[in-house]
């Protein structure tokens, strides 16, 4: 992510020579340029409010800006550990691996991109399927990983969501998905588009069986993911300020030939327009899920010996 990073050396230099007191006319960019070259540090700049904040403090705070409550990107793994009881869960379908059905090549081969992102994230594709308990309720959570090709949906993501739903059907437990995706993956062409239908169908099977499906939207949820399973939750929850929409903002601006109003396509915008049920702070997400799960657990008792 594009946080501006500060090193200890840069900070001590600033401390000794507090330029902001003395030299009002000095162009700001110059300092910022200097900071951008520094690769690592203890301080980060908030993407939303632009305040300089202590990195450790942010980490202690569920990766939320202590100044403006902006929710920073966190990995799918981290999300899962924040939600499950004791942060413990089992993953499944880890053995599904993407292939390159179209032999797709742009400036780079799709195959090479897959390898690169696999090395970067330690995942085979942009999703983790997991099972565990939240407040004692057994659930399946399929969490998308934005760090893997922008969380894009292709064959493996689609298949894992469907298998996640099928596990819920077999075990009669609720499904939770955590969307974090730019949309369908271009490199698998029409097969990626078909994942929209495939995942929506699987969600429909849960509905037929009377099993709840909770969809959590995070920054960003757009394109083919928002236009399929992510917007089909019985309950749709979003993290604050998340970007949610169908079309990309640049495309819209080019189409209508005007700038977009502030706050357009944010979670708050969607709530105001009746598209989502609630916005929930990351720190309250677990307790909110427990409340919702307990409501649905009071429904008709599940059939079968291994029901919850």
């Amino acid at each position: 992510m594009d946080h501006t990073l500060w090193s200890a050396a840069a900070l001590s230099e600033l401390w000794r020579n507090p330029v902001w007191f003395k030299r009002e006319n000095k162009p700001k960019e110059k300092i910022e340029n200097k900071k951008l070259q520094i690769p690592q540090g203890l301080w980060i700049r908030c993407k939303n409010c632009k305040e300089i904040i202590y990195k450790k403090e942010v980490e202690r705070n569920f990766d939320i800006c202590p100044k403006c409550q902006y929710h920073f990107y966190i990995s799918a793994q981290k999300r899962l550990s924040l939600l499950y009881d004791q942060g413990e869960y089992n993953t499944f379908d880890d053995h599904l691996q993407p292939t390159d059905p179209l032999k797709f090549r742009d400036r780079k081969k799709y195959r090479d991109r897959l390898k690169e992102y696999a090395a970067l994230t330690g995942l085979k594709d942009a999703i983790i399927s997991s099972e565990g308990t939240i407040g004692g309720y057994r659930v399946v959570i399929c969490a998308m990983e934005f760090g893997f090709m922008g969380g894009s949906m292709a064959s493996v993501v689609g298949e894992k969501i469907v298998r996640g739903a099928e596990r819920c059907l077999a075990e009669k437990i609720p499904l939770i998905t955590i969307a974090c995706s730019g949309g369908a993956r271009m490199q698998e062409g029409i097969i990626s588009l078909m994942q929209m239908a495939k995942t929506s169908a699987a969600v429909g099977k849960l509905a037929e069986a009377g099993l709840p499906f909770i969809s959590i939207l995070t920054d960003p949820t757009t394109g083919g993911v928002s236009a399929s399973f992510a917007m089909l939750g019985d309950i749709i929850i979003s993290e604050p300020k998340a970007l949610i929409g169908f079309a990309g903002q640049r495309v819209i601006e080019q189409t209508i030939g005007q700038e977009l109003p502030p706050g357009f396509q944010t979670a708050e915008f969607l709530l105001a327009h009746g598209m989502i049920d609630m916005i929930v702070d990351r720190r309250q997400m677990r307790s909110t899920l427990i409340k919702i799960l307990s409501f649905f657990a009071l429904g008709p008792p599940p059939q079968g010996p291994d029901g919850q």
Binding site: H95, P98, M186, S200, K205, G224, A247, I252, I256
Partner: protein, 316 residues
Amino acid sequence: MDFEKQFVELDSAIKEMRQLATEWGDSARQELKRLKKKRQKVFYETYAKLTPWQRTLLARHPDRPYTLDYINIIFSDFIELHGDRKFGDDSAIVGGLAQLGSHKVVVIGHQKGRGTKENISRNFGMASPEGFRKALRIMKLAEKFRKPIITFIDTPGAYPGLGAEERGQAEAIARNIYEMMFLRVPIISIVTGEGGSGGALALGVADRLLMLENSVYSVISPEGCAAILWKDHTKANEAATALHMTAQDLLKLKVADEILKEPIGGAHRNPTMMAHIVRRAILRCLAQMSRLSEDKLLEDRYRRYRQYGVFRELVE
């Protein structure tokens, strides 16, 4: 269209030679013969090996027959229905009740405009949520009265606009996909021109997907793909090939069930003939599906979409 220009040039040369032939006699007549032969050769050769990008251009040809053209030729007694009963009536999608031979059906499709003025009112066939919701309402009507659904797909994509986003473009598309999956009547979709991503799929969850020979269907437009992956929108040509978006590609990928052959030179060179080919195909599909029970129909449809995806399962 670039590759059509050569025919225009040859045609005008032929016309000139024909006039000269009356004055000059035999030598001109021979030249005329030669030109005619050449034109035919070039014509057949060009259309025998169209590139994916050329097919995309043909799929977008401004003279190509649109949904209402097909409806007028194929069906009788078309009664157009309007509005989504929620917000408005989106003329980028048309739909209504129609008769096809002995079948009473519901027909829905994207509608592009002919000329600038109509295109503006039709929004170039790019639907807003109202359009998708109108389509869904009419499909629900079809289900209620147990009539098969025929959809015609021809759209650059769902409209990327302010109002469309405000009124839930993503939700509208998702809802259509979801509901179509479980409608208890046969659904036949025909991609007649451009199948533009989610906007196409929102009318395209079907038991049979037919594609015209020069139609395309893709997750993203080649221009959009080129802009993102090549950082250069002029690389649309390469992107069109890479995306595997032609009818022939989709047949191989088992997304399309059948390709409907177009008159040589494209559907726009003989819309009536094209419409009759489409008509025959629809009747054939209807006959196949009339033998299926509702449960079997839904089971097959679910299985059809369940199996899309290419991946490897490593041994655990």
